[in-house]
């Protein structure tokens, strides 16, 4: 793997908020590389900067300093549209708060990224149903998020992330709002997707969940403390 270009390469990334004395650093210089096919857990206590780094990787936020290369391309050279297209074509997101559209059926939520890809209605529908089927929710395809349990909502979000067959799935505390049973199901699902070749980067503060990943990146005070390989992961 190390012979190829890393999928994601962060070089001396810093992120600060505020100005002057009120200036606080969320990231204090992060250098890290992730390769295609990896399943990485990013761990750390709250406020350690793990989510900030995740948002920067997802181009939802921008670093104050440093460079971010996605497949060798410096993201700083891309305009907003190109970054949107980057997200559209290569990335899938799973959020702690699910972030499904309210009053919109599970099926329509899953269809959404395909609409932006310009896919025809019939094909879109078939693919979305297939994705819902993969997360075991085809029976609630026409339910709205408010009618679904937290675990089901998160699985709809996973279906939405995987329906485009992205290169990489970014999951920010995907099990943060779920009970153990649902958490385990979600993790198994992610593991399965990883086995199919999708790179997964997951932020979590639960060591149990990190066990599913091949390696864990430990954050502390805006810096990477250490990177631990996980021999148990399949």
């Amino acid at each position: 793997m190390s012979s190829t270009t890393p999928l994601i390469c962060l070089k001396a990334i810093k992120k600060s908020y505020g100005e002057g004395e009120a200036k606080t650093y969320a990231l204090r210089g992060v250098d890290v590389e992730f390769f295609e096919g990896e399943f990485v857990a990013i761990m750390g206590s709250s406020g350690s900067g793990k989510s900030t780094m995740m948002n920067i990787i997802g181009c939802l936020d921008y670093p104050t300093q440093g460079e971010y290369f996605f497949e060798g391309v410096n993201v700083a050279t891309l305009n907003r549209n190109q970054i949107s297209l980057l997200r559209r074509n290569f990335m899938g997101f799973i959020f702690q708060g699910f972030n499904l559209l309210a009053r919109t059926s599970a099926l329509e939520n899953v269809e959404l990224p395909l609409i932006y890809r310009g896919m025809k209605a019939a094909q879109r529908r078939a693919k979305s149903l297939e994705a819902l089927d993969r997360v075991g929710l085809s029976h609630v395809a026409h339910h709205q998020p408010s009618q679904l349990s937290g675990g089901q909502q998160q699985r709809v979000a996973i279906a939405r992330a995987l329906v485009t067959q992205p290169l990489i799935i970014l999951a920010d505390e995907p099990t943060g709002n779920l009970d153990t049973q649902n958490s385990l199901e979600v993790m198994k699902l992610l593991q399965k997707l990883n086995c199919e070749g999708i790179t997964i980067i997951m932020v979590t503060h639960e060591p149990d969940m990190a066990q599913f990943a091949q390696k864990s990146v430990m954050f502390k005070d805006g810096c990477i403390e250490k990177i631990v390989e996980n021999p148990h992961a399949s």
Binding site: S84, F93, N99, Y116, T164
Partner: protein, 404 residues
């Protein structure tokens, strides 16, 4: 891409039925109220102007006393006119179409057990010409009735209703104060005048008997109404009347007139400026409606801004382009505003049509106000639907996602 935006916009509208409904409702009420208000206002104005014109646009009134503005001083005792003045005007000034008196007095009319307070006028047959009034039934006064002052009368529709319970009044005898009087004619209905007085609430009797039995003064006439022929110069006629009356009233050269001539046109112009004020008032009311309606729509749009900002964050995160999001929201705003605007126009015109027919006001369609109301509320809907979305789409996606 536009098709996509359209699909997405329609989905959003369907999903947020309550919000969509309230937005449409705001626009409907705004557009409908402005249209109805202004069109009814214009109808009323036209109605008032029309009634004023009915008073007679080429009519002059000759009154004793000097022309002056403001209240009359007490003690001024100008010589009234008499019957011979009327005759002289009729004979000597050829530009006149009709000359009559309209001596009036409030009086109690009695028929059987019914008692009704009305106004009685002492007139001659030229009165019908000047007022442009015809008989529904019966006849006008005959020459001998006028000459001798016979006790006959012609009544208005309201009198027929009040005294005769809408039965045939011809040949009946009604009592006007001290004398009894035979009904020989019934006037056509004229309806209410501009300021609400009932024009049909009249009894007409020959001038002679009015002077003898009602005013108690055998010769005096307090005002003369003349109607000019079409196309003659008002100024020339006024000059002729002035010369004639000066001669008849023995006014020496250098002395001032002891009578004055009023042109109904001046009065109409005064009244027209009143109706113009009315139109301006309505314009102000319409402007307030526009503002209030606009604020209503604005509120509905702004209340949902948090939810929409997050929605935009989600859309951006899953790969929507900024302009795709904006097109979607623009289409949504345009669709909602147009639906609301069209319903509003239909509703506004319907309300106007119903109200005008109930109150017998002319229905005046004003495409200007329809256009103004429609465009204004379209703009409000679009601006407040689109600009918060624009702001959200310009944010970093993560800020939009976390927006509270």
């Amino acid at each position: 891409m536009l098709l996509n935006a359209f699909v997405l916009a329609l989905r959003t509208i369907r999903r947020n039925l309550l919000r969509s409904f309230l937005t449409i409702l705001g626009i409907v009420i705004g557009v409908a109220s402005v249209i109805a208000m202004v069109m009814l206002g214009e109808g009323t104005t036209a109605h008032v102007t029309n009634s004023i014109t009915k008073l007679g646009s080429n009519m002059l009134i000759i009154l004793p006393g000097q022309e002056r503005r403001g209240p009359t001083r007490g003690g001024d005792n100008f010589k009234p006119f008499d019957f011979h003045d009327v005759e002289a005007l009729k004979q000597e000034i050829t530009a006149l179409r009709a000359v009559t008196t309209s001596e009036a007095k409030s009086i109690n009319a009695v028929f059987g057990n019914t008692n009704y307070s009305t106004t009685v006028y002492g007139v001659d047959n030229d009165y019908f010409v000047i007022k442009d009034w015809d008989m529904e039934k019966g006849r006008k006064f005959s020459a001998s009735e006028l000459g001798s002052g016979k006790a006959v009368c012609i009544i208005g529709k309201s009198i027929q209703k009040e005294l005769f319970n809408n039965l045939d009044p011809l040949q009946a005898d009604i009592r006007l104060e001290k004398f009894s009087c035979k009904v020989i004619g019934l006037l056509q209905s004229k309806g209410a005048a501009a300021f609400g007085q009932d024009q049909d609430d009249v009894i007409l009797i020959p001038l002679k008997i009015f002077q003898r039995r009602i005013s108690g003064n055998k010769t005096d006439i307090s005002s003369i109404l003349v109607s000019m022929k079409e196309g003659v110069s008002t100024q020339r006629v006024q000059q002729e009347i002035k010369l004639l009356m000066r001669e008849r009233r023995h006014i020496k050269e250098g002395e001032e007139d002891d009578f004055n001539i009023r042109d109904m046109k001046d009065i109409i112009e005064t009244l027209s400026s009143t109706t113009q004020m009315l139109t301006m008032l309505l314009g102000a009311v319409a402007a307030i409606s526009l503002i209030v309606g606009g604020i209503g729509i604005m509120n509905i749009m702004l209340v949902s801004v948090t939810e929409r900002t997050r929605e935009i964050g989600i859309r951006l995160a899953i790969g929507a382009l900024e302009r795709e999001v904006l097109t979607q929201f623009l289409v949504e705003s345009v669709v909602l505003s147009s639906i609301g605007g069209i319903i509003g126009i239909v509703l506004g015109i319907s309300i106007t049509a119903v109200v005008t027919s109930v109150f017998e006001i002319p229905f005046i369609f004003s495409q200007n106000i329809v256009a103004v109301a429609f465009i204004f509320f379209m703009m409000v809907g679009i601006v407040f639907g689109y600009f918060p979305a624009r702001k959200a789409a310009k944010m970093n996606p993560i800020d939009a996602l976390r927006y509270e």
